[in-house]
């Protein structure tokens, strides 16, 4: 700290705790102590308070004891002369501030004042909208801000957070110099795949207003989440950080030091204070520094450069107008650059030579029909993508060819056929990697701002927005994206790459036939690839940075629980990085073919889990099931009354027959612990031949989130048929018919669900 910051932060903390007390007393009187307090879709109560104190606040009456904790952390303000040390005291006061802020937000929830409704006298550009589940309106004069991030979204981001694709988050507080600067800062962060959390205001004006006026799409899908227009709502950023540790780090409420250190070392976040800094902002910054998050301000404030609580500098002041640069945009860019240096985030930014911004944050962007310049695929036209291995000499590296007419030949809002053919060559390239690489096309193309990509193979569907087309985006740029990204991400196996874009109808016919032939061949090969047909499985310890004792064993018939890594992905990943998180595990001796025990697998798991897991069965949930980190797509749990299992998807917020929602269940299933009867899985494991084969397979499923039934209808039907019960899917209950065991059992009886007559599980 500096004495100036300490003085203002301790004063702010004292004032906020006082304010929280006044507000709480008022709320207790007006609403009563039994009034529930609940953030949106979370199993973690008020997460910062839960994490740091272990206190589960579920009603107003739980709050006074938290308030006492906050008061106990406050200190006198440093004197002007012969002052006493203040660093520890200021950091404590920062924590008190966080408690008070979260209490206040909790009380606001109790009053129904959160998430905040935003209104602003000024113009708000059309298209500004929120894509969060709480989304209530769009455009016009405002809408509802996001408020806290829910558990579902946290877990959905899980895999990206743990594998480093999403390095962390920026908590932006305040208001930028101009709308232009606000947009540039956010764009810069998005290009680096950094989550952007927005809160605070200066003179009543927030960066949220600025972005809305500029029509920047806000919401989960664009990594840009508006929390609220005051600094109090910045507490949601720290709630997110705390829950990352609880969700992925296997930590429990009350493990304050571990949670804070986890964030210091694993969550690359920082606070960016735009505009003048008030007492509360100083106090909240002191709270954030406890998490190891540095603070960067674009105004004059005292700097704190020595390190220790944070990994690099604690507080940086970069008065915006003094940042060197030709113009404000350049200054904004430098500001973001500095933020990233201070947090020590190592980000590899792939320069993609296209006329629109590029980054994962744009993956979720949608292109609405009215904003669309042109589309390929969908209902009216055909679009496919095909990647194949070619001879080394047959590939001219970096060459992008467009065969056929360009988009300018199609009227605005129109459609045309397109085929993207990618040919790669490399010494370590294998035919098996073709589908692995081909699947990346979806992510790569989606990363361009204003481009939307859905589907794969011959059901690809691509849209280019008017804005992108105006900036000069054309067909060749698809090729340029792919060349740049394949080199950057798969350089270890791809030495040369060339891309041909076909719009010429004749050529499309010709290549589509070739592609389909390849698709069929691959399908067959994949079907032939069984656990028995290979010599080795692969480990995935990608999540160990977050869940230190968890290890996934990925086999051809059991993909990773995050759904992102199948056996071939792991194999490719091992080629790319031989010392990385995906290592081959020779199966060794099969100890039990039914439950799926292999001696070498057990050995590997013992060592990779640091002894916390002794053995693992590949095909059973009831005996030594595989552990989970926290980023599973679905959770299975035994329902003893029905002699079967339920599967709940992470997209499903409803109650389940287990008496817990997904979020609560996740606490049981995650953290690298073996709990017989509970398991996190990737959703495509459901249709595998080996799916809990030892326990009876798919026929044991008595309840399944409807979203799974719908999104995987075809695959599930096929699997049911394979299991000898083609109508199985209709016999499985979901949240629409039952959210308790008592509701579910009659349904199963009526439908004659096979699990009821299967051998008892216990």
């Amino acid at each position: 700290m500096s004495r100036y910051i300490a003085t203002r932060a301790i004063r702010g903390a004292t004032a906020l705790v006082y304010e929280a007390e006044q507000l709480l007393n008022k709320a207790l009187k007006e609403l009563g102590p039994d009034t529930p307090v609940q953030f949106t879709n979370t199993a973690y109560y008020l997460p910062v308070i839960l994490g740091l104190t272990g206190i589960e606040v579920s009603k107003l009456g739980d709050m006074p004891k938290v308030l006492e904790r906050a008061k106990a952390l406050l200190h006198p303000i440093p004197k002007d002369q012969v002052w006493l040390p203040y660093l520890g005291e200021t950091l404590d006061s920062g924590i008190a501030t966080l408690f008070a802020a979260e209490l206040i937000e909790g009380i606001r929830f109790a009053y129904g004042e959160q998430p905040e409704k935003i209104t602003w006298g000024g113009k708000i550009a059309k298209g500004g909208s929120f894509t969060s589940p709480e989304f209530e309106g769009e455009g016009g004069n405002g809408g509802t801000l996001n408020g806290p991030i829910d558990d579902i979204q946290l877990r959905a981001w899980g895999i990206q957070l743990v594998d480093g694709r999403m390095p962390g988050f920026a908590a932006i507080v305040g208001c930028a110099k101009s709308n232009e600067v606000a947009v540039e800062i956010v764009r810069q962060l998005q290009q680096r795949n950094i989550l952007v959390f927005l809160s605070g205001n200066v003179n009543g004006r927030s960066i949220i207003h600025q972005l809305m006026e500029e029509g920047v799409e806000l919401g989960y899908d664009t990594y840009t989440v508006p929390f609220g227009t005051d600094t109090l709502s910045a507490i949601y950023a720290l709630g997110f950080a705390t829950r990352s540790a609880l969700t992925f780090g296997g930590m429990k409420g009350g493990m304050a030091r571990d949670i804070l250190l986890y964030n210091k070392y694993r969550v690359f976040a920082f606070v960016l204070a735009l505009g003048e800094v008030d007492d509360l902002k100083y106090a909240a910054a002191a709270g954030a520094i406890n998490y190891g998050f540095p603070v960067i301000a674009d105004t004059v404030i005292p700097q704190i450069l020595p390190t220790g609580i944070t990994s690099y500098e604690h507080v940086i002041s970069m008065p915006f107008d003094e940042i060197p640069g030709e113009n404000d945009l350049e200054r904004a860019k430098r500001l973001v650059q500095r933020c990233i240096e201070v947090r020590g985030v190592k980000i590899k930014v792939t320069e993609v030579p296209i006329p629109v911004p590029y980054g994962s944050a744009f993956e979720g962007e949608r292109v609405r029909r009215e904003d669309m310049r042109i589309e390929f695929g969908g209902k009216k036209t055909r679009c496919f993508e095909y990647l194949r291995m070619a001879d080394f000499d047959a590939v001219e590296d970096g060459k992008v060819t467009v065969v056929g007419p360009g988009i300018e030949t199609v009227p605005e809002g129109g459609a045309m056929d397109m085929g993207i053919v990618v040919e790669v060559a490399g010494r370590k390239m294998q035919e098996d990697f073709e589908p692995v690489l081909e699947r990346q096309i979806h992510y790569f193309i989606n990363g361009a701002s204003g481009i939307q990509h859905i589907g794969q193979r011959d059901i690809a569907w691509i849209r280019i927005s008017k804005a992108a087309a105006e900036k000069g985006f054309n067909l060749e740029h698809f090729g340029k994206i792919l060349v740049a990204r394949f080199h950057a991400d798969f350089g270890a196996i791809v030495d040369k790459i060339q891309v041909t874009i076909y719009t010429d109808p004749k050529k499309i016919e010709e290549w589509l036939a070739k592609a389909r032939e390849a698709y069929n061949y691959r399908n067959q090969r994949l079907a032939d690839m069984t656990d028995e047909s290979v010599e080795e499985f692969y480990s995935c310890t990608l999540c160990q940075s977050f869940a230190p004792n968890h290890v996934c064993v990925v086999s051809p018939e059991r993909l990773g629980l995050c759904g992102a890594y199948n056996w071939l992905d792991c194999k490719a990943s091992y080629q790319i990085n031989p010392t990385g998180p995906n290592q081959p595990i020779p199966k060794g001796k099969c100890l039990d073919p039914v439950k799926g025990y292999f001696d070498k697998v057990n050995e590997f798991v013992q060592s990779a889990s640091h002894g916390s897991v002794q053995q693992v069965s590949m095909y059973s949930i009831m005996e030594n099931p595989m552990t989970a980190c926290g980023c599973f797509e679905a959770i299975m749990m035994v329902v003893p009354e029905a002699n079967g299992f339920m599967v709940v998807s992470r997209e499903d917020p409803s109650m389940t027959p287990a008496g817990m929602t997904f979020s609560t269940l996740a606490g049981v299933a995650g953290g690298g612990l073996q709990t017989p009867g509970v398991m996190g899985v990737g959703k495509y494991f459901l249709v595998s031949r080996k799916f809990i084969a030892a326990d009876g397979g798919l026929k044991r499923i008595v309840w399944m989130s409807s979203i799974l039934k719908e999104t995987m209808a075809e695959e599930l039907k096929a699997a049911a048929a394979r299991e000898g019960d083609p109508d199985l899917l209709d016999k499985i209950a979901d949240e629409r018919v039952a959210t308790t065991v008592d509701e579910m059992l009659p349904f199963l009886e009526e439908k004659g669900h096979p699990a009821l007559t299967m051998p008892p599980l216990f």
């Binding site: 004292t14 008061k71 006198p76 605070g200 070392y265 003048e276 007492d279 940075s545």
Partner: protein, 110 residues
């Protein structure tokens, strides 16, 4: 148009700002308001023909932000006192916390 600047110590954080702005901007004759929680001041541009500083001051007081009135805050004891957090909350660490070292060991690999 005239300007007046008031010191408003109770407007110490940005969630107070919209309240202050609303209270002032609703008064006929107030053209512009710059409410700064950082400096705890509010600068008002107004039409002297329609409104005078006394009215503005009163509006601030009515909104709970009286001009020049400090926020009375409770005080907390210095660390050497029995009721200070040094004795009530803080532990007595005299050795390196091994969890720190473990945690910082091989974090996130790039």
């Amino acid at each position: 148009m005239e300007h007046v600047e008031f010191s408003v110590p109770r407007m110490w954080a940005d969630h107070h700002v919209p309240i202050v702005r609303k209270a002032l901007l609703g008064i006929p004759g107030v053209e512009d308001v710059y409410a700064s929680s950082a400096w705890k001041t509010v600068r008002i541009t107004y039409d002297p023909a329609r409104v005078n500083p006394n009215t503005l001051e009163k509006a601030l007081a009515d909104a709970g932000y009286p001009v020049g009135v400090e926020l009375e805050l409770p005080t907390y004891p210095e660390q050497t006192k029995d009721n200070a957090m040094w004795y009530t909350v803080a532990g007595r660490m005299t050795e390196t916390n091994l969890a720190d070292l473990k945690m910082s060991g091989d974090h996130r690999k790039y």
